[in-house]
Amino acid sequence: MSRTTTLSAALLVYRRDLLLAQRHWGQVAQPLVFFVMVATLFPLALSPELSELRRIASGVLWVAALLASLLGLELLFRSDHADGTLEQMLLSGQPLSVLALAKGFAHWTACGLPLVLFSPFVAGAIGVPLDSLGTVMVSLALGTGILSAIGAIGSALTLGLRRGSLLLGLLVLPLAMPALIFGARAIDLSIQGDSARGPLLLLAAMLVLAVTLAPPAIAAALRISAE
Amino acid sequence: MSEFLRMGGYAAFVWSSFGLAAAVLLWNVVSARRLHAAARARALRRDAAGQGTP
């Protein structure tokens, strides 16, 4: 029997998760709908005037994306935990942090990426000028990536707990605040006509840090939760 | 003395801050001791009931 390489195991996990997401696309669509709904709350609460919305658009987009991502994080490990796949991963002998990375990336592909692709429409609807839509997408792409990484730690820690979703938010949101600061700032700079390079580069650095440091933490958390 | 209490007009701010500090310090002492006392009582009760693992 040929030994599975780590890379092929990771690809396997990634493809399986995407396949499952495809089959339960309703569950995947929920965060997206939530994103649009939260964004819609603000014009209703404040004003339909685009000029006014433009001033808070960066915040609205980011907060909506954060909350929507939280929603999607809950299910990250739950079904695997329930049907025994998680145990198989633990026993497989493959480095768990690599598998965790694969799962996190699959989660981002299924949850974060649709959000990013949809964001120009939402952004435009709350007054973001056309020229800034690219920055919006980049900012949210990096941000949802960071969220997937950090959130997966929280998801692994709260696996199987009652009221886990509330707890997850409490754990993940403080850790996501730095990304929020720079991500929203990038969009604001772009709207003002300035270069958003600085904050975006910092955001990218945070993503690299998250992708590097989170998988071992996720693996540790999974072992703790699953035993 | 009254000059001291007045704190140059900032009496409310200074004394409420120090009052808060006193409250926090007091809470720490009281809750820690209460926890310990409760744990002691429970441990002695458990032992009396013979519930320890051999």
């Binding site: 850790l175 | 704190m7 701010f13 002691r40």
Partner: protein, 245 residues
């Protein structure tokens, strides 16, 4: 080097006893230093040139802030030791430290806000340090909530340990981002709690208070640790002999 003493220390009955013996060495100096610092800060130190007597709030605000951060660090170190070397006592220390640190974070926040009123005119400003303290409070809340929602003590210990470590790694990032965010939006005249440049006779009470609070933390930690040890120990053998000494 013999590690016997270390392993002995980590054994619950031993640790319980030693904690009890160390307690007065922390509690009494803490009390005395607190009294000295209070007199020094409230009465002896001269009023500030700009802020008048309002600056005296620093004598409780700064120790609170200092402890809020150092206790989190202590908790994270203890958690790491517990995770890496699987020493239960270390987890007990982390569990005991968390509520104490959270209480001091609340103190730092409240006194910071109170101090802000005469300085800036409002009860709350999104000052960099205050916002950082608020996020730190959220981190404490997360660790304590996670520990509280897991019934199995072992899992609770290890899960909150991972979270504490993740938090401590994030702390510098959070500090830096909040500071950066704050300088963006506010003109320099308005920002941060104006720390008076401390002359000698204003400084010494502050140092005394910092030391006093730190010793106080030590004392409270020892008491809470003893309670934790008792809660975790199922073996009744040493309990009876120890507690009825």
């Amino acid at each position: 080097m013999s590690w016997v003493w270390f392993h002995k220390l980590a054994s619950p009955p031993h640790a319980y006893r030693i904690a009890g013996r160390l307690l007065p060495w922390f509690a009494w100096p803490a009390g005395i230093l607190l009294a000295v610092g209070l007199v020094g800060g409230l009465a002896l130190a001269p009023a500030d040139y700009l802020q008048g007597d309002a600056f005296r709030i620093v004598y409780v605000h700064a120790p609170g802030a200092w402890l809020s951060m150092s206790v989190y660090g202590t908790m994270a170190v203890a958690a790491a030791i517990g995770l890496i070397w699987r020493i239960k006592l270390a987890h007990a220390v982390a569990a005991a430290a968390a509520p104490i640190g959270a209480s001091f974070t609340v103190l730092a926040l409240a006194t910071g806000a109170i101090w802000g009123k005469p300085t800036w005119g409002t009860w709350w400003v999104w000052d960099a340090r205050l916002t950082s303290e608020l996020i730190l409070l959220f981190l404490y809340a997360g660790v304590m909530a996670l520990r509280g929602s897991i019934d199995d003590r072992d899992r609770a210990d290890r899960a909150s340990a991972v979270l504490a470590i993740v938090g401590v790694v994030n702390l510098p990032i959070i500090h830096y981002s909040v500071y950066w965010w704050n300088t963006l939006h506010q003109p320099s005249t308005l920002t941060r709690i104006a720390k008076p440049s401390m002359a000698g006779d204003m400084l010494w009470p502050l140092l005394v208070m910092l030391l006093a609070f730190t010793l106080f933390f030590g004392a409270v930690l020892l008491v809470r640790l003893r309670a934790e040890i008792l809660q975790r120990e199922r073996n009744a053998g040493w309990l009876r002999t120890e507690l009825t000494r």
